[in-house]
Symmetry: C2
DNA sequence: CATTGTTTGTGACAACTGTCACGATAAGGT
DNA sequence: ACCTTATCGTGACAGTTGTCACAAACAATG
């Protein structure tokens, strides 16, 4: 309870959580920080520090109760409350995201897909009808979605983000290689493949 | 020249570079740290600090010479040397990556695509024949590719990575939600959508 | 119930990262 | 030549993040 969780610490919590759920069938009721650390490629001290930010739920001599920890992490991350996600931009990448089964197993469900291309609107993909972007507000209200994923061209990213915010979306995952500005109370995350490739490139150069 | 570049600093350099190339047609020959900072949503001091790690190429009173800076950044990041990339796993995501035109404009070219599914091998996608994963070594030697992108299921990520390293690949961009281990001299970057969604979720919860 | 063995939670430290402020430096005009 | 103006490069500082080590806490066992 002593320290504020770091930004990257949150991502580690998500890793811990994913590991726990992935080995759900284990008969071991307890897991130590060392064991957890090994699974996610970090140090035991790091794991304990991260977890200690949200209370003390480990028992000395045994470790952490698997089920309890999983539950706790789920609560911390806010899983189970904001699962409904809308997707904007059903192009190459958007289609792949729609088809991805991994989101569901992680409690996220894409409940609606939007585009502004007349040729795509009305088509069905993975059991979801591609809807006109104009219907965004209505659908967001109906589904209660708080999160959105955007995979539209960089040039329109800002306007799409603005529309999403007007519609009531509070968290946005942006795949477009564009920096967009949002009000303070909106959470924004970028996923930027090209930048990661550049990082790789740099790493090779300076081996 | 004073300080070592930070890990996140490298990603900022890539952002600077991308911004410069994206506004290539500008008639302004010079750009100030303030201007550059605004474009990528950072501070002017940060920009200057990052750049100063690699020498001094700004001129007081004017700013940085656009063309020279672009050239310099290209050199630092190692662009133009490691453009050839191979892709392993042509599923939903892999297909989207193959179709992506943004990589090329950033000097990266996917020169070969691999899969182990007999039904996919031999098919053509975006002018590229999907090849048997067994041919990996040969193709890597022929093309001189140093970088690889993998979009295979998490369960086989490690074995694919091992194969890539045997084939001579030095940098790997991993889209599978799995931590893989590599020797020290191999550069590895993860792109993990689910974790980013979890971060969003946490942000919403703790608004 | 005391002893032993294990693992947690955290204070103290070290390393890293970003911000601020300002002296130094170059261009351009008078 | 000198002054003005704009902007860089960087030392010093502050805040953040990760590591280490160890006392405290609990389980197990005889
Ligand atoms: N495909 C990839 O592998 C990849 C990789 C990295 C980054 N990206 C980025 O992801 C984004 C999408 O890439 P893509 O390859 O799927 O492109 P795409 O052109 O195939 O898809 C973009 C989709 O967005 C739709 N769209 C355009 N304007 C819109 C608007 N105002 N409202 C709603 N929908 C709109 C288009 O109709 C299209 O269906 C781009 O910004 C791209 O840079 C893609
Ligand atoms: N689709 C998405 O939007 C998305 C999002 C996040 C993460 N991911 C991750 O990206 C990876 C790929 O996702 P996907 O949706 O494209 O899955 P997919 O099943 O559609 O594609 C996987 C491909 O890898 C191939 N493959 C399997 N084993 C192989 C091997 N040993 N060697 C070579 N090829 C092999 C399969 O034949 C298949 O074509 C997964 O790890 C997934 O978790 C995907």
């Amino acid at each position: 309870m002593s320290r504020k969780i770091s930004s990257t610490g949150i991502e580690r919590l998500a890793l811990y959580y994913r590991y726990l759920t992935s080995v759900n069938g284990s008969e071991q009721a307890f897991i130590s920080s060392a064991e957890l650390a090994k699974a996610v490629e970090h140090t035991a001290a790091q794991v304990r520090r991260d977890l200690s930010c949200f209370g003390t739920f480990g028992t000395p001599g045994r470790g952490y109760d698997r089920a309890a920890l999983e539950e706790k992490l789920s609560g911390i991350l806010g899983k189970g409350k904001c699962q409904n996600v809308v997707l904007v931009g059903v192009g190459n990448l958007g289609s792949a995201l729609l088809a991805y089964k991994g989101f569901q197993s992680q409690c996220y469900t894409i409940v609606a897909a939007f585009d502004n291309d007349a040729k795509k609107i009305g088509k069905h993909l993975k059991g979801l009808e591609i809807q006109d972007i104009e219907k965004l507000s209505d659908v967001v209200s109906q589904t209660g979605a708080k999160m959105a994923i955007i995979s539209v061209p960089a040039g329109v990213a800002q306007e799409v983000v603005d529309a999403l915010i007007s519609a009531g979306i509070q968290g946005i995952l942006n795949f477009a290689p564009a920096r967009v500005v949002v009000p303070e109370d909106i959470v924004l995350q970028h996923v930027d493949f090209s930048i990661k490739l550049d990082r790789l490139c740099y790493g090779l150069e300076h081996a």
